[in-house]
């Protein structure tokens, strides 16, 4: 079980809750479980969500494991210049 924090706008489509306990071993499973629980999240995942694990931002490595005691924070997937 990992505790995941959603940024403000995303929490609005996740039952209005910012913090969620999810049983997920990696980013892929985390997204799948969130989408199962809150179908409104799916379009956000399609548009792109980045995952900060202990402050390091992962945008594309969906196989990245989620350590049990890590701080996990979801962020919009941003573009650069």
């Amino acid at each position: 079980m990992v505790e995941v924090t959603l940024w403000g706008s995303l929490s609005a489509v996740a039952g209005g809750k910012a913090r969620h306990d999810i049983e997920a071993k990696d980013i892929r499973e985390l997204f799948r479980k969130l989408a199962e629980q809150y179908p409104g999240i799916e379009p956000w995942i399609d548009r792109g969500i980045a995952v900060a694990i202990d402050g390091t931002i992962y945008r594309d490595t969906w196989s990245k494991e989620l350590p049990k005691d890590a701080e996990i924070f979801l962020l919009p997937r941003l573009a650069g210049g």
Partner: protein, 754 residues
């Protein structure tokens, strides 16, 4: 990813040196081929007809007269680019931006295009196209557009991100919010509060080379595109989707690039050129004029930002809040969202809240510009931070050091930071001789901090070793700032050979796997990781070949300083084999030797910079001159320090132009008034001092050499650093960028009049 990206702390032989770039001679002698330098036999000239109206329904387009003109080979409108986006809203916006479908949404919006045998006939043909418009009310100002009575740009847009779904459409496409704690409680604890509103005007990336491409669609449906871009693989995907082609049938080759800065991450002319070529059956060359570049490509957002920051007498910030409104052009974007994330990222804050609003306006579609959205937010926040330091009677640097984020701080955008470099940049600035240099009358000094995320992304690289031992490195990230030199250094470092034996090229889209664009400061970060991986794969083969040549087990062969070495006393008589020795025998030991890598480079690590600026303001004319400028930034590891310094200087130079002069000026008719470099003034060499740089190297734990992206952060602090310097010089707080002479004089007059 079958590759360990962790920082190893190794000693370097090549990385950190400053050899001449492989593309340097061609560039200084004029041989380098940019977008407009490519030509094909039988090519036609493409030209685009653009809307003169800021907002208008396209009632009818009659192309018949143009089509009959001798020498015209194709005329296209939106009908020739049917909607194949399959519900992908972002792609539909790109399609509509390339060629208006129902409405022209800004002055310069493409409505039709022609391909003719020469430019004169193409221009004549444009004049023969008859477009019937129904002109609509328009809005170009970000604050006016956000107002509920503003002309609606898209009546299907309902603001996202509100607690309740709105009943009426709006030009505000999205509200986003970030932060933590309780700002009301935080402000209640403050002894001093600064609260101000700021504005920044829209600027263009200002690349010297206009958009240019040659498209050639073959009768069998395959096509070639030769183009100036920051991301040829992304251009291939977008063009293939918009034209209904398989991506593999479209080969895109990137030219040398005369600046991009985010503005060449987006297709404009390319799908149009391909559609023209498809219709004409001949290659089509399409080069934008400077007027078109300004009116129809780029630019960044115009912004309106409210900031409130409170602090206790001891200098501890108790709460910080910002509301940010960013213009997106006529299509939805996430520009305010990025501003809201970056605004307070430099600081350790218990109570912080930022709210972003994305606002549609009748201006060109906003494109990324170097650390997109961060400079404007930093201008507002760093101006307020400076003012608060003055009110507290604290030194501006000491106040920032006291409140700077550090490892373990919860970032204003959410997560807790790992090791970060804001503190070291501030300490370096505090002790920099620049801070102690005397100032004369009418001069002022300012400083400011900046933050940017940096990204990695999908990356693919090939490394081929020739039979003579020289190395060809094929990368898929476009070289916008010297990356071919940096990546050659990395290949040389890993293989243990001299830099002069490595030749790096940017491969076309049919020669290499997919690569994300060169954006987000990712070029050297990502491709160096892939180059290290490819080199290590090649070394594995080199060891195997050496083992064959010696007839010993490969486990007994190591790779040291460019040589295979047989380990163990029993091999005492075996001299090490150089890479060149092994390559020479490759034909009989298994054939060509190569290393390949495909990976996702994540973990780029956030980046911080602190800048110092001295200005002199002429109180009679309001003219400002930057007389000294210093950039301090963390590079993780500077692979090629000269090009890192170049990135620092380039960002500062662009920031200086943005801060003092550059601005899109629209008339009441919604038309752009200054679409050229004479009236849109970017800084030239004679406007700038030598920009000093100080590279800090705090290794990125997520890269084998400790590399961080360096390309973007340097444009984040300048707006604020210069605004603080000007404010200190004239004694009036400047809140509107650019601080052009009329704006400075107006501020001085207002101050005098009380």
């Amino acid at each position: 990813m079958n590759f360990d990206p962790r920082f190893s702390g190794r000693q370097f032989a090549s990385v950190g040196t400053r050899p001449i770039r492989p593309d340097g001679v061609d560039k200084v002698t004029g041989r380098a081929r940019y977008g407009a330098d490519f030509n094909m036999a039988g090519q036609l000239v493409g030209r685009v007809l653009r809307s003169p109206h800021a907002h208008a329904v396209i009632k009818k387009i009659d192309t018949s007269k143009a089509e009959k003109l001798a020498g015209v080979k194709a005329v296209i409108t939106a009908k020739d680019l049917p909607d194949l986006t399959d519900g992908d809203a972002a792609m539909y916006d790109i399609l509509d931006n390339c060629m208006a479908r129902k409405k022209a949404l800004y002055d310069g919006h493409a409505v039709a295009a022609v391909a003719a045998i020469d430019a004169r006939i193409a221009r004549q043909a444009l004049k023969l196209i008859e477009v019937e418009y129904e002109v609509l009310p328009h809005v170009t100002d970000v604050d006016e557009a956000a107002h509920h009575h503003a002309p609606l740009i898209n009546d299907q847009v309902f603001t996202e991100g509100l607690e309740e779904k709105p009943a009426k459409p709006s030009n505000v496409t999205k509200r986003t919010q970030f932060g933590h704690g309780d700002v009301h409680a935080g402000f209640a604890k403050a002894d001093f509060i600064v609260e101000r509103s700021y504005k920044t005007e829209q600027t263009h990336q200002g690349y010297i080379e206009p958009h240019a491409c040659v498209a050639s669609v073959n009768p069998d449906g395959t096509a070639d595109l030769w183009v100036c871009t920051q991301g040829h693989f992304v251009y291939r995907q977008h063009c293939a989707q918009l034209l209904g082609m398989e991506a593999s049938k479209l080969r895109v080759t990137s030219s040398e690039i005369g600046g991009g800065f985010g503005g060449k991450t987006h297709v404009w002319a390319e799908p149009v050129a391909l559609a023209l070529s498809r219709k004409a059956g001949r290659p089509v060359k399409l080069v934008m004029t400077r007027d078109e570049v300004f009116r129809a490509s780029g630019p960044t957002s115009a912004t309106s930002i409210d900031v409130k920051i409170g602090a206790r007498k001891d200098g501890t910030i108790t709460a910080a809040e910002a509301t940010l409104r960013y213009s997106c052009g006529p299509y939805a974007g996430s520009w305010a969202e990025i501003g809201a994330m970056t605004a307070f990222a430099c600081y350790k804050l218990e109570n912080v809240k930022t709210v972003g609003y994305e606002v549609l306006v009748n201006r060109p579609k906003t494109a990324a510009y170097r650390a997109p959205s961060a400079p404007m937010a930093a201008f507002a926040v760093e101006s307020a931070v400076d003012e608060l330091a003055h009110e507290l009677g604290m030194d501006a640097v000491d106040f920032r050091i006291k409140n700077a984020a550090q490892e373990g701080t919860r970032a204003s955008y959410g997560p807790v930071y790992g090791p970060i470099g804001i503190g070291p940049t501030l300490e370096a600035v505090k002790h920099h001789p620049h801070m102690k240099a005397p100032l004369k009358a009418n001069q002022g000094r300012g400083m400011a901090c900046g933050f940017w995320f940096n990204f990695g992304g999908q990356t693919c690289t090939d490394l081929n070793i020739g039979m003579d031992g020289s190395v060809s490195l094929a990368v898929g990230t476009v070289d916008v700032g010297g990356s071919r030199a940096s990546l050659s250094l990395v290949a040389a470092e890993e293989l243990g050979i001299d830099y002069s034996h490595v030749k790096a090229i940017v491969a076309d889209t049919s020669s290499l796997g997919y690569n994300d664009m060169t954006d987000g400061s990712r070029g050297t970060f990502s491709s160096s990781m892939a180059t290290i991986s490819a080199a290590r794969n090649a070394i594995k083969i080199l060891r195997e070949r050496a083992a064959q040549m010696w007839d010993i087990p490969v486990e007994d062969v190591t790779w040291e300083k460019g040589h295979a070495v047989a380990k163990g006393e029993k091999y005492g008589n075996l001299s090490p084999l150089s890479l060149k020795d092994i390559a020479a025998k490759s034909g009989t030991t298994g054939g060509p030797i190569a290393g390949h890598s495909e990976l996702v480079a994540d973990g780029a690590g956030v980046s911080f910079a602190t800048h110092i600026c001295d200005v002199e303001v002429d109180p009679e004319t309001g003219s400002t001159r930057v007389i000294r400028y210093t950039v301090v930034q963390d590079a993780g590891k500077a692979v090629h320090p000269t090009y890192v310094e170049g990135q620092y200087q380039g960002g500062a130079a662009q920031g200086i132009g943005w801060a003092l002069n550059e601005e899109y000026i629209y008339g009441k008719d919604g038309r752009l008034q200054n679409a050229g470099f004479l009236d849109y003034r970017i800084p030239v060499c004679s406007d700038l001092p030598m920009i000093d740089t100080q590279i800090l190297e705090i290794p990125n734990p997520n890269h084998p050499y400790g590399v961080r992206g360096v390309g973007e952060t340097s444009i984040v602090p300048p707006l604020a650093a210069i605004a603080n310097a000007v404010s200190n010089a004239v004694g009036v707080r400047m809140t509107h960028i650019p601080m052009s002479p009329p704006r400075i004089l107006a501020a001085l007059d207002a101050e005098r009049e009380g």
